[in-house]
Structure formats: C-alpha cells, structure tokens
C-alpha cells in the first residue's frame, strides 16, 4: 500500500521538512503541494534542497487541491487549519502542524491566541503516557509545539513517578527556524549571528499552556511552568533545561531508574549514558530526542536536559511519526534516528 500525501504550506520551514522526510518514507507518495503567497512558483526556487521535487509547481491552498489524498499535512498560519480540515471530511487523515487543536482548555486557547477555540484533536506526542493509543486509527492529529515536545519528554516521567514538586522552571534555547521564514528585522542573519536573546519572558509564550497541560496530565495535579524561551544563533535545534524541586526521598539513582524505564522501548527518545550530555548538534535532522538527568543535591532539584531538532522531532518528524501510527504503518518509517554532524 502506498499512502498519498499532500502538504499545505510547502514553501515554509515546517512544510519543507515534512517533504524531506516523506521523500525517504518507503510507503508514501507525494501528491499536491500548496502555498499561500508563493503559489505558482517552482518548489526548487523556494526549497532548493529538495532536489527531487524541484520542478513541482505550488498550487494555491484549497480544499479541492488537497482532497483525494490519504493524508494532508497542514503547515499553515494559526487559525487557518479548521476551515481546511472541515472541508476535507473524515476520509482524509489531517495532521496539523499548527497550534489550533493542541489545547484542551478553551480559556487557555483564547487567553494565549486571542481567537475562538477550534477544538481539540488527538495529540501527536506518542511518548506521553497513553498518547500512542489515542493516535492509532485517528483521522485528525494535532502535532505538539516544538518547545512542549522537548519539555514534556523531559519532565513527564518525573511527574508521572511523583518525583517532583508541581512547579517547573524551564529555560530553552531554540534555533531561528522556529520563528519561521517570514522576513522580520530581528531575525536577520546580521542580528542573530553572535547574539542570544530571550522573548516571551514571564509566562507570555504561547507554548506555556501546552506544557502545563502535558505535565499536569502526567502529574495528576496542576503543575505550574515558568518558561523562558531564548533565540540562539543556529538554524535548528532546541536545548531545554527543565527543573523542579525534588520530592523527599528522591536521589540520583531513583531518578535515573525512572527515566531508563520510561524510555527503554522508545525508538526516538534516548537517555544518554551517565556522564554524556545532549547537544542539539547530535540530533540535527534526526527524529531523536536526547535526554540526560541530574539530581542537584545542594539545590534539591531534579534537572533534565533535552535536545531535539525543532523541525524534525519538534514538528515534521512528530507529524510523520503520528501519521505512521494513525495509518498503522511502522512507527519509525521515514524517520531518521541518525543525525548529521558536524
């Protein structure tokens, strides 16, 4: 069986990455490619690294063009996915790489996104407790945000095992592709090279409620998250430092044991051997999340470091992994566990 896939938003970074992965997926044939303002252009002019698709011309994003595929990946600006999905019907698997269907709480959505809540779809982070089952046979998938992917994988096991107090502190550095391909002065190479800067400080980043949702579910109680994202001078990658106060009785051995058990069978989450630390450079282009844990006895805190490629495991890789599960394909098909280095 070959799955026919369409990609809406094929000229952006998320769209380009899903195409890179689909090109190496043995069970997928690439169908329609659409774009907004770039409709009518050759893909080769916009995504010159996708050589096998260079001569494809981008169509305008309409339900007509996207219909008739087995799966449609949406890489659209926030707020546009619902209208497209409705027109596609249940015969098509829709994998949304945008934020629209990630949050269960409508009030959270409205506070952070400022628009009416569109609904909630099965959440495409199969490594979370219970999530894999919810994806089997799904017709709609909400792919997690890149930061929530890195942070939820980092802290969910600690919360599920009741190791940590429900007040998490997260500081994460992201490559610039997380901010998309729209040209803005602060994202110019001249501005970002050689500089680190924060944004959305003080609980303002839209990924905060998504982290809270995931960690609270794992903990079985409300978890607060102090989240500070920073922009790093690199195109790809997220390095997240997530910590929380340890509960009484926790020590380094118990901590490691919990994480080893949590991810022992996961193909894409890799707890590094003791003494080795994650680096975004080691997961460049791969669907792997690298993790390492530490127990800081003097400060009484659990510290978890996670590294992912924001465009692969953090977006398009998570999308393909979810598609595989929804369609009953092998979960790892088309998904590299090997990165490109240096």
């Amino acid at each position: 069986m070959t799955v026919r896939a369409a990609v809406a938003g094929a000229s952006g970074y998320a769209g380009g990455e899903v195409l890179r992965l689909l090109l190496q997926h043995p069970g997928v044939e690439i169908g329609a490619l659409t774009a907004g303002s770039n409709a009518g252009q050759r893909l080769g002019a916009l995504q010159p690294h996708l050589l096998p698709l260079a001569d494809r011309v981008l169509a305008a994003t309409t339900a007509e063009v996207l219909a008739g595929h087995d799966v449609v990946f949406l890489a659209l600006p926030h707020g546009q996915s619902a209208a497209v999905a409705e027109q596609l019907g249940d015969g098509v698997l829709v994998v949304d790489m945008g934020a629209d269907f990630r949050l269960a709480d409508a009030a959270d959505w409205e506070r952070f996104y400022g628009s009416p809540h569109a609904g909630t779809w099965p959440y495409g982070l199969p490594e979370l407790p219970g999530a894999r089952a919810g994806l089997a046979g799904a017709r709609r998938v909400a792919v997690p945000g890149c930061y929530p992917t890195a942070v939820s994988l980092a802290l969910a096991p600690a919360y599920a095992a009741r190791l940590a107090e429900p007040e998490a502190v997260v500081v994460a550095a992201s490559g610039t592709s997380g901010a998309g391909k729209a040209a803005k002065p602060h994202l110019l190479g001249s501005e970002v090279m050689g500089s680190m800067s924060p944004y959305g400080v003080g609980g303002l980043h839209r990924h905060t409620p998504e982290m809270i949702q995931n960690l609270s579910a794992a903990a079985g109680e409300r978890v607060t998250v102090s989240f500070t994202p920073t922009l790093a001078p690199m195109p790809r990658g997220i390095l997240a430092t997530s910590s929380a106060k340890a509960r009484p009785g926790v020590d380094a051995e118990r901590l490691r044991e919990v994480y080893e058990k949590a991810y022992a069978d996961e193909p894409f989450v890799h707890l590094l051997p003791e003494g080795q630390w994650p680096a975004t450079g080691a997961v460049h282009g791969s669907n792997t999340a690298q993790l390492q844990v530490a127990y800081d006895e003097a400060a009484g805190r659990i510290v978890v470091i996670s590294a992912i490629d924001n465009l692969t495991k953090g977006t398009a890789g998570g999308a393909v992994q979810s598609m595989n599960l929804a369609l009953g394909l092998p979960e790892t098909s088309g998904l590299p566990a090997t990165g490109i280095a240096p």
Copy 2:
C-alpha cells in the same frame, strides 16, 4: 599621572581583552606582557587584532618582569596567582582575573577547585552592595567570574529588597571564549557552530559557590542556586535567565521599582525600558550589563534576564573598572559603554 600596567597571560582571551581596553585608557601605559608557553613570540602573531602592540615580544611570566609596574593584571591558570602576587609586594596593585581569591569559604574552594585555599581578596564587582567601598585603595582585587557577574547583577537587588525566596534557578548561555583558547576537540568550530550543549549540570560548575556567596550576602540568608551553564554558538556573550519564587506581596510594579533604584546611578548596569529585552549582541565589546525584569504571576516567580560580554564586563572590563577604583581614577576610564553591532 600615567599608570604603568603589566599583563601576565597576554596571549589568551582575557589577557587580550584587558589589552584592548588598556589601549583606549587615557591614563594607562602598557608595560610588560608575559605568557607561558607562548613566551618569545610576537604578540601580533597571537593577537592580530591588537595592531598597536603587534611588535611586542612576550616575556616569560616571572615576578622580575612584572615588578616595577603600578598595576599587574593576572590572566593565569587557576592556582598560579598567589605565588606571583606574593613576590610583587604591596607596592603593586594586583588584579587577578582568575578564580583563586574570589571565595571567602575555604571549604567551598577546596570542594570545587580541589586545591588549598589561597585567601580572599576584595571582590571586583563594584555594583554589589558595599563592594565599591572595599575597592577604593585596594592593593589586591579578585575579579568575579563571568557567570557570577551576570547572575549577581541580576538577582542581588531582588534579594537585597527581600522580594524573593532563597532558592534561585539560573540557566545561562555563554559564548565559547569563556572556555579559553586552549585547543580542545569539543570547542572546535565544527563542533560548536550550529549546536547548543550544557555542561557542569547539577551544581557542578565552579562558579556556583561564587553565586551563592554573592546572593547570600545580598539576602542576608543562605541562598541556594541551581545553575546550568550552556555553550552557545557565538564567540562572546552571556545571556543569563535567573529566577526565584516571589515573596508574598511582590508585583510587577514593585519589582521594577527596586531595580530602577538599585541601578539608577550605575554607569555600567542598564535596566532596559519596559518591553525591551537584553541581547548579548547589544553589549558586544562593551562594559555594559543589560537587564530586564519580569514578574510571572501564574508561576509566582521573578525572572531577571541579564546580558553581558563575558570578556568585557565579565572579565577584563570588570578588571579595569576595579583598577580605576583602586587607583582613584575615574571609574569609567577606558571602558566603552557602547557595543559593536551588528
């Protein structure tokens, strides 16, 4: 009056930066330049950016060569400063850019550095409460570590004003020059470009006790610090995200007020206007620390962002500022408040 300055360790990054600043200092004449394994070489071959000193030849680091100056800057490996300082006598101001004399607690020193404690010198961070007075007329100065500079400036006002609980969480990103000029595989350009990675996770970094010392002094009680340093793909700069739980009654207005007051008269600490965030790219080559504060109501935490140039305010700028105070020169002499951007 012209001050004659010698620099020991002139071929490294700290030594090079102190020379860059001294070259623009109106009251300083540059005397002896010494090095370890690079002794005998032209400075121009090792520090080609210091054109006016290109033809200077590096001497071996000995007390004889360093004697006879008004001030000697030491940029030596840990553990070597005491012996040199002893031989120089009290007639010479010795400004140590190494760690040897920063910590007051001998047990802390021994635990983190693994060697006998050499003593404690006046601490060269004049913006800390009481520190400026201790530097006036000093004959010995211990220049703070780069991370402790960024973090102490960030959190000392909150602790001094009793705004925060005594458990700080700090995640900081540093440019690679903080790791020095010795060639190590993990510091190769091929390894660091495009990658973020942590090190010294879990309370192991040697700057941790120095932060604890400074923040505890400001707080008047023992403060714990969970500190995670990360290596960023840039040559210079530290961006520190420092947070702590807010004490009851704290709000955004009160927080800002405390910081405005704390740094109103400081020439080198700049609280940005509301809505603007620090970036290391804005303090590249300058002695300025940029700060911004936020109160995250949902998480109940104070978050302070600070950006410095690790080699300027974080090392050599702090050293020159301390020299100015010790010798009664204008505090800002030779110290740029303007960075180089982009």
Copy 3:
C-alpha cells in the same frame, strides 16, 4: 574646536556604525539623528548597542533638521543624497556613504544603477594615489563602496608599479551587514547561517565599475575586473582574494617591496609580516585593512588578500577618516586601529 555632526539614516547599519565611531571621536559632538520609516522612534529601540544615545528620538530626514551642522553623514538609499546635499549648501561638509557620487563615468552609473548620474565628488579612499590631497578642505565626499575599498587597496600598488596585467580576477566574501537591515527572506539568520552563496555573478555587481575606475586610474590603462561577491555566514567583514597575471620580471621579493613601500606610512593599511594571513576576525570593529601578498610562480599570478570590516574601513570608518581630512582634524581621530577578538 568641536565639530557638530548629524547623521541621516541613523537607524541602519551604516548610520549606527558612524555613530559608534563619532561617540569615541574627541572632536565631535553628535547633533541631529534622522531616519525614514523609523522617524519618531527612540534610537535605543533600534540600535541598543549605542547606549549613550539611547534616549535620542529620530527625526524625519529633512534638510531643515540637518542644516546647521558642520558635517552631515548621509546613509540613505541610493538616489536620495543629491537632493539633500543641494539644500545644505557649501557651508556644510556632506559625507555620502551611498553610491551616488562615486563614479566619474555617467554611462557606467546609468548602466549599473539605472538612474541619471548625479555627479562625482572627491573620493574618500585617502590611501589611493593622489586621493588624500583631494580630500583636504573638501565640502563633499563620496565614501567608497565596501568591496571597492578592499579590492582597490589590494591591487592599486601592483598596478601603479606596473607589476600586473590589466585583467584582474576578484572573489570576495562579505558579512551579511553589507546587505543592510531591510528584512528580506534570503538574509534571514536561518538562511545564512551555515551557508555560503554568491550573487551578482558575471560582472553584474554595482561595485564592479568602481573597482575598474580605481584600478584603471592606478594602472594608467583600462583594467578589466571579473568580480564575484559571496555572502558569508558572519555579520561583518570582507575577505577579498584579488589576483592578476604578473608582468615579466616580477618575483616575490619585488612584489613585497612594492607593497611595503606603498603602505609604509599609512595608519590604516597594514601589510602583515610574511607567513601571516589576513582574517576578518582580526579587524572586527577596527578601521584597519590587513593585507598580504603572494606570488604564485606556477600560475604566474600575483595574489593579494585583503581583510576589512565592511562597516568600519569599508563604510563608516572611511567616512570619518575622510571627514577628518576634509576638516583638517588628525586623520586617525575617533578611528580604532584595534579590533575586537575573538
């Protein structure tokens, strides 16, 4: 005497750099700052590295605002300088960092810029034969393009000494700030980091006729230039590789001798010792051009490498140096010969 300076286009990279230099110029007081679409904003929001000017508010660029200064620096889009200059009159020194008045040949101008030729002003590259004299007392100065600065300094001595055939081949790499601060997709950090790319290949770059003009003047005959500019993943700096076939009788010794003599007394052009090669990292933020020469006997070519900071010696430093000469100030005032490294 204090010179009062205005800067038109203060929110861009060239404008920001001229302000950085003027802030350290002992004989200059900074007057009006103007901008186009950024008029009305605080400079601190746009150029956060220029801390001493942070609270200045940008005015709209009009002759009224710029009048009444001793010198006006223009950092305007091509084609806008003539109108401003006309209204300022001869009482004001106008230093144009744009291209409008660089070319003597109207046909060249029209072919490469597509608009009517505005005229020709004294050319602000004092190191070219005869140029310094033309700048003394000038009321108008055309600052050279960044690439022509690097390339003319590299090859003019060889042509003036009749060492080279009149067919030059130049390949140069520039940092991204050369492309300005306007947000364009191909200049995003995500696009430029980790990538090298050419542009304007095949003789199309607008700096080509300017190089031809300068080298032909030095040679006393028409020189052709094959010029290929490339965009490098760094914010600043130009590294130019300029070569030409050697005339009979040239050897390495003769070549070096000519360059040593040509630049022996120049404060800002530095021929490196044999065996040492220029690097843009060694001239970051300085007004120095580093040069090295080689004679490739097997290929029969003279190869000259030059490194400058495109924003300093290549734009704003050249502008301030020209101002100094025009106003009879010391040529090196306000101009750092020391770079920032690493």
Copy 4:
C-alpha cells in the same frame, strides 16, 4: 546480496560521514569500526549523532580487523593507506578517502606531500570524462579531494569543450570540517565564528596538483590553476568560484548548452535553472553538486559556481558512489539527493 563494510578511522569526520551514509544504504551491513588513539572507546561517545551504532566499540586499526569484509573504507592520515591496503589483498575493495593514491605524477606527489609516491588508483569522480568506466569492477579507489571535486566538476566541461584558456583561477570557501577533528587553536569556535581567512595562498595547497591533473586531462593540454582556499564560519560545505578566460566565439548560450549536455544524465550534478545560484546550505548532507555558469562579457571570462557538501559529495558520498560502481550496485544507493535546510 549484502555487502559487509568496515571503516578505518571511524572517529573522525570522514569516517563518521561514511557511516551515516552506510546506515541508510539498503545493501550494506556495517562491520568493523577502527580508530587510532580513540580505539577502545564507544562510538556513541565520539559520534553521538550515529545513534544506531552508539554501543559499538572501536577496535585498533589493523589488517586483521579489517580483513574479511567486502569493502574497507580508509579515513586515515596521509601516508598510512598503502600499508593497510597491501595486507588486505585483492579480495577486498579498498576505498581510500585520503590523498595517497590520487596523483598520477610522482614528482607532484613528492613536491606537495614530501614523501615517496605510493601509486595511483582509479579516481573516484565518476562524472569526469571516462572515469565511470574505470571504476566498474575496481578493487581499489582513490576518492578525490573535496576541493578538486568541486572545481573539477565546475571546469571540466568547459575545458573538454575547448571553451576556455588553460589558465584557471579558483577561489573556494570551505567549512571547518574540511580541516578535520584534531584540536588546533586556529580551528576553535572562538576563532572561526565571525571570521573568514585564507590559507595555502599562492599555489601551496595540496589539492592544487590534483585540480591541474583533472583539468589538464579534460582539456587535452596543460592547465595552470591559481587556487586560493579560504576557511568559512560554517561546519560544512564548499563554495567554489572557478573562472577562466573564454576562447573566441564563446557566448552565454554556448556555455550553458555545454554544461546542460555534460550533466544531463548525472544523478548528482545539478545545473540550476538560469537565475538561480548554488548555495552550500542547499546541499547540506546531500551528495548533490549544484552548479551555475555565467559568461562575463566585459571581462571575457567564464565563471562557474559550484556548491557541494565537503563531507558528502566531497568525501564520503563520493566514496560510497564509487563503491556502488565498483561492486555493481545501483550508483545512487544510500546517497541522498536531498539536503537538510535550513
């Protein structure tokens, strides 16, 4: 049939890259992995991106360990390949990624490498005229140098079609991985980020005679090459600007026609559509060489721009492509035509 492959030098950049490609090769099984000073270590500690091989332990490089495979890839320091190859015998395909067997001329070898010439093996650049035939069934392959790959692909068609005079001028920028993984001060991240610098100027680089050999073969006459390599602040990629004086009668149309024809059937050499230029960022991790040609009428020169990934098409990709041809496997097996961007 599954081919068993061993890699000698598996801890370096070339060795790591060949393993990355072999991991995705459907017809290859990875056998012994050896190293020099890193023997005894887990591969995961040295090449953390190669997750599927993380637990492999490196053996010492000996003929005993390497024997018994169908193919052995050598990524050894210059001068060590011959001894290993001799002991392996003709039953094993040996693909040498070092320089030892690239040059046909013993005098060239001795002048540039300073050691006795070991011999000449079939040259692993199948896109050169006649080369593919020489690789079919070969038992020994010399993989070209990275620069000669980029430059030979760029200029061979022009020389083969007699379009260009036999004096080529080449300036190329390489990412730092081309310099290997041995820690040297000038390759530190602090030194290379934000800086461009040349090396081996004036005909001294060891890849020069290899370019001359290839271009002379294509031209049917002796071609001289003026080659200037530069180090760019990026981990991977080569961008080469290669030019030569056009012969009478050449124009843009004829030039394009020649290149279109030369590479029409090549799976890994891609002449871009007119108006689009190569970028190393578009071939990151892929085995594709991107090319574009221009005819500069004013300068009378043909200019060819080529972009490759120095570790893929420039080293390990070329090695795998040669292995495929030597063993009669599909030429493109295991070789990505798609890059990773941004």
